[in-house]
């Protein structure tokens, strides 16, 4: 028996670490990945809460929401990586600190 | 000691099973290479391997030894960790996928392992199909990382190609199974097989009949999509672009030698076997016999195949050139004939091995198709490959889903 709170704390920690690397890293791709990490942390919380409230075994809204998050993350990845490729193509750099102008 | 065994019987049994399964799979792998070379050779009207051992039967062993003892250079400037990780990943995933394949419906009769019935599978999660797909999905990394870590042009290109190819065909692969899932309403492979048991031959998903309804829901289109996509997914000819010799030397494993290379090799063949199992299970009724249960004489088909074949081997061995052959081949043939006889002698055993026999037979056929395809079809160009995946297979599989759903509705599912 694993208390829900354990999962919640784990998800909090993961989210925090995601935030850390989001601030700390300079590589666009890595930053993107840390965003994905945060999303995953949130998903964990979702599933945990779902299992907590799902006493009759028919309340799965949390899991449904996780599925939506995953789909959205996929779409986001598709577009985001496309943008990253463009950035690399135009700026010859993946360092966000080198990409600080809206125009070339 | 014994109570330790009784308490942890499940774990220990699982470990033993895994060991046995590994042994079998690796051996089959080895001889699959031999089989492939032979078949392709005969398709191209050559002899194929026939020096090492009679009919080259020891060729695989020789290859294995070669792999083991060859020098294993690590190219300069590679990313060590990833370079070593890649083949391990590939092999581990490929082998893991075998764990959820059920080779027979019922446990071995009269024998238990400290109270644990001995089933013919390692694990039976009720989402086994999903597990398989998950593993397939991950197996991309083996190739991609290998290509990247080798710090070399050809492997990189090969890796890129393969990862692109795999994620492209994964869609079609997954979509094409949805039809079967709709019919079985489950992810469990055993349930899927049982769902096809209502009518002997035509109850199989390939034909899609069911007792109590005139309307068939055939999965022919789904099968085609699945098989093609699976060939591509396993990077086999005619979709073996990642290792297209003519363009990329050897693709992602150009920089790999000896046993690391062997790992990729084994992984590929294991993937072949897994896919064959899947095809047999999803579309051809898995371990179900094509004949009605009332035809009891069909139970003797295993022996009926084994006996004459064994006798033929003996006869062939007696006339074989080399002494070694004269000694070994008759022994093998005798063993086969003996097994065949034994099966007739012990009907219980015979009855038990029936499902497994049918499953293995189907798997063998699919593998033969694999090899056949490799022997006949020319390799696609890259753009053709992509078009095939996105513009043909994916729409076709989606169409199959819609068609199946419509038919099921019509049938009043």
């Amino acid at each position: 028996m694993v208390p829900t709170s354990y999962y919640l704390i784990l998800s909090a920690i993961l989210f925090g670490m995601g935030a850390v690397s989001f601030v700390f890293r300079r590589n666009i791709i890595t930053i993107f990945m840390s965003i994905e990490l945060m999303l995953n942390a949130v998903n964990l919380a979702f599933v945990a809460f779902n299992q907590m409230w799902n006493t009759q075994g028919n309340k799965l809204d949390g899991q449904v929401f996780v599925l939506f998050v995953i789909v959205v993350a996929a779409a986001e990845a598709a577009v985001g990586l496309g943008i990253i490729i463009l950035i690399q193509r135009n700026r010859r750099s993946l360092n966000v600190e080198r990409v600080d102008l809206l125009k070339l | 000691m014994s109570d330790f065994l009784t308490h942890n019987a499940f774990w220990i049994l699982s470990i033993i099973k895994i060991a046995v399964l590994l042994f079998i799979v690796l051996t089959v792998n080895a001889y699959l290479t031999w089989f492939e070379r032979k078949v392709v050779a005969h398709i191209q009207s050559r002899w194929g391997p026939h020096r090492v051992g009679p009919h080259g039967l020891l060729q695989p062993a020789a290859d294995g030894l070669k792999f083991l003892f060859k020098e294993d250079p690590t190219p300069a400037g590679v990313d060590k960790f990833v370079y070593y990780l890649a083949p391990l990943l590939a092999l581990a995933l490929a082998l893991t996928s075998m764990a959820v394949i059920p080779f027979g419906p019922n446990p071995i009769p009269h024998i238990t392992f400290f109270g644990q019935p001995i089933h013919l599978w390692v694990a039976n999660p009720d989402i086994s199909l999903l597990v398989l797909f998950a593993i397939t999905a991950l197996s991309v990394y083996g190739v991609a990382l290998a290509g990247w870590a080798s710090n070399s042009k050809y492997p990189l290109l090969g890796g890129l190609r393969s990862s692109a190819q795999m994620i492209s065909y994964e869609l079609a692969l997954t979509m094409s199974v949805v039809g079967v899932l709709l019919m079985a309403n489950t992810f469990s492979l055993q349930e899927i097989i049982n769902a096809q048991a209502s009518i002997p031959l035509f109850g199989w998903n390939f034909f899609g009949f069911t007792s109590g309804s005139k309307i068939p829901v055939p999965q022919i289109l789904g099968f085609l999509c699945f098989f093609i996509a699976a060939i591509a997914e396993t990077n086999r000819a005619p979709f073996d672009l990642p290792e297209a010799e003519s363009e990329l030397v050897a693709g992602f494993h150009t920089e790999y030698a000896s046993f690391k290379f062997a790992m990729f090799f084994i992984a590929e063949y294991t993937a072949m076997i897994t896919v064959s199992c899947l095809v047999a299970i999803l579309f051809f009724g898995g371990w179900l016999s094509p004949f009605p249960a009332s035809w009891t004489w069909t139970h003797y088909l295993p022996s009926v195949t084994l006996l004459p074949f064994g006798l033929w081997v003996i006869w062939d061995g007696i006339h074989y050139e080399t002494i070694f052959g004269k000694l070994v081949l008759p022994a093998v043939g005798f063993a086969m004939a003996a097994i065949g006889g034994a099966l007739i002698a012990f009907p219980a055993v015979n009855g038990f091995i029936q499902p497994t026999f049918w499953l293995l037979a189907k798997i063998f056929l699919v593998l033969f198709f694999y090899v056949w395809a490799r022997g006949t079809l020319p390799r696609l160009r890259y753009d053709q490959l992509m078009n095939m995946g996105w513009k043909v297979l994916l729409p076709a599989s989606i169409a199959n889903v819609i068609l199946t759903a419509a038919l099921l509705l019509w049938r009043g599912h």
């Binding site: 709170s5 704390i9 920690i13 690397s21 601030v23 700390f24 899991q63 | 890129l160």
Partner: protein, 167 residues
């Protein structure tokens, strides 16, 4: 210490380690690999919670599609180790403490809020996929269609972005 708890801690440590290495690895590929580790660990946790389908989706979509895309792009752009610039004073000075503060606050909030949600998740109560799909296609059908549309748009957007403008 029951079996589920052990599994939980193993997977949790795995996840945390993975996240940590995501932070500290120099090379994007290594970060990606560590992120994959995290995701697989999370999938294991989902299984532990009995959310089997979500676990599978996690691995198939996240592990098998999204991260593959990441790796693919990294390989395509041949991204090397990131250069350690410090052009943003704000991030240099306040970045770490703030992020850590966020972690702490979140954790604290969770810890403090958890007594309210004390009842443990029941492992093994395998929430069957049928219910999930039924839910997905009845109550959540509009969000579902919406996401499908979103994906379509994303595909188009990715295509437009990726193609070189030929003149």
């Amino acid at each position: 210490m029951s079996a589920p708890l052990i599994i939980f801690f193993v997977l949790a440590t795995l996840a945390v380690l993975g996240a940590a290495s995501l932070i500290f690895q120099k090379h994007p590929i290594h970060s990606a690999l560590s992120l994959i580790v995290v995701m697989v660990a999370l999938a294991g946790l989902y299984l532990l919670m009995g959310a089997e389908f979500v676990a599978a989706a996690q691995i198939i979509v996240y592990g098998g599609a999204i991260m593959v895309l990441f790796v693919f792009v990294i390989m395509l752009l041949n991204a090397g180790e990131e250069e350690r610039t410090n052009l943003s004073k704000l991030a240099k000075i306040a970045g770490w403490p703030l992020a850590l503060a966020l972690t702490g606050v979140l954790a604290a909030a969770m810890i403090r809020a958890s007594p309210a949600v004390a009842n443990p998740a029941r492992p093994g109560a395998l929430s069957d996929t049928a219910t999930l799909s039924k839910l997905l296609f009845t109550d959540f059908v509009y969000p579902f269609e919406l996401t499908s549309f979103l994906v379509l748009v994303a595909i188009l957007g990715a295509m437009v972005l990726a193609q070189r403008e030929q003149k």
